[in-house]
Amino acid sequence: MSLFDKYDQVNARHDRLLAAGRDPFNICMDRIVSATEAVIDGRDVILVGTNNYLGLTFDSDCIEATVEAIRREGTGTTGSRIANGTYSSHRALEQDIASFLGRRSAMVFPTGYQANLGVIAGLAGPKDIILLDSDSHASIYDGCRLSGATLIRFRHNAPADLDKRLERLKDDTSSKLIIVEGIYSILGDQAPLDEFVDVKRRHGVELLVDEAHSLGVFGDKGRGIAEAYEVEDDVDYVVGTFSKSLGAVGGFGASNNPEFDQLRFTSRPYMFTASSSPASIATAMATLKKIETQPGLRKQLWANAEALYKGLSDLGFTICSAASPIIAVRLPDEESAVFMWNALFNAGVYVNLALPPGTPDGSCLLRCSLSAAHTPAQVQRVCAVFEEAHRALKDWRDAQSAAE
């Protein structure tokens, strides 16, 4: 009995993938050229599978601010927020985030994954009940597990199912927390947040919304799905990340609840970890400012998203959700998805490959994500490559059938 026996099935799946081409889950960027281009295995590739929605990772103002912060404050804090790891810049960023979201207080974590661990396991405990959307990200599931709370899943994006379950629990006096995301990372589908808010109001339960993929992307001011649905006042806790629109590493939780700051001395993932580096803090401050002062970035992102959506739909591809910066193309089976992924890559287009059991509905997907930094020429090229790859897939399938 080895510790690694438990991975036998996973290894078998992985071996099958490797037999079909390169390993899609072990891609290395030999050189990252820009927010939308890289060199991989000596090949120039257009990146259509990052979360760099506003393309700010190579913005010169943001880079300068980050370099300046490293020069001023050093490469790392070497301490936790409850010891020597709180700098004035940590507090300043927290204030910026709180004021951007119109909340009383915000807490910053070293990663977005950790923000979910820290906020969820800080808010909920073994005597509480969490009701979470079944398609929640791994970081939400892990935060929920860490909390020790009773965890009940409701059907994805189904406020009626949540309502039914809360009704069943109405005689249970435990504190409850509902968790949903703004836009879901794989399929790009949005939560009907107005309907979830109706449910939470009727049952008098608090709501946490993870706006990881929606901050900077949705809402007139880029505050996310809650802003877009005009229900910000009903979202008790917001969690977000720096690693998508904000182009950095880190995450946050924010709330109007005056008790929220208690998490600073009760949340283990906040307390027992090194605080964010001066570089991460400075980048997030600079990119947050860009979100506030350059709404044109969001417009460009959506223009690119609509263009790719139209291009791929016109070519006959099945796209899982309405147009958004996340465009998930459904393929009929795993072999086709893997073939297409390799064909796209060999022609210089990188997208994410999502396969069961990693996909919420068991489908095989090529997940594309857009950036404000993509040019119209790049979007056209991506469509052209999809078309060629699809033709190659058809030829390959025909050859297989002929051989049988």
Partner: protein, 83 residues
């Protein structure tokens, strides 16, 4: 509806049929993931169907101990007795 163990078993077997393309005979000893080739997405959908059918909630923490049909029946009966 007063659910007896036998009735619960009968209903759960019905709910398992969509996950049983090979049409094997399902008994209390049937291993849900090994004998019925259920992956985690299918397992989650099955749990949701069971919750709907019996109007119960099954906390996720109970699921790692559910390997066989009997395990699932036991969890359903436990949750029914709470309500």
């Amino acid at each position: 509806m007063q659910w007896t163990a036998d009735k619960v078993q009968e209903e759960v077997i019905k709910l398992l049929q969509p996950f049983n393309p090979k049409g094997i005979e399902i008994t209390p000893e049937t291993d849900l993931s090994a004998d019925l080739f259920m992956d985690s997405v299918a397992a989650m959908n099955l749990v949701m169907e069971v919750e709907d059918r019996f109007e119960i909630d099954i906390p996720i923490s109970l699921l790692p101990d559910v390997n066989t049909l009997q395990d699932l029946i036991d969890v359903v009966l436990a949750q029914l007795s709470k309500g």
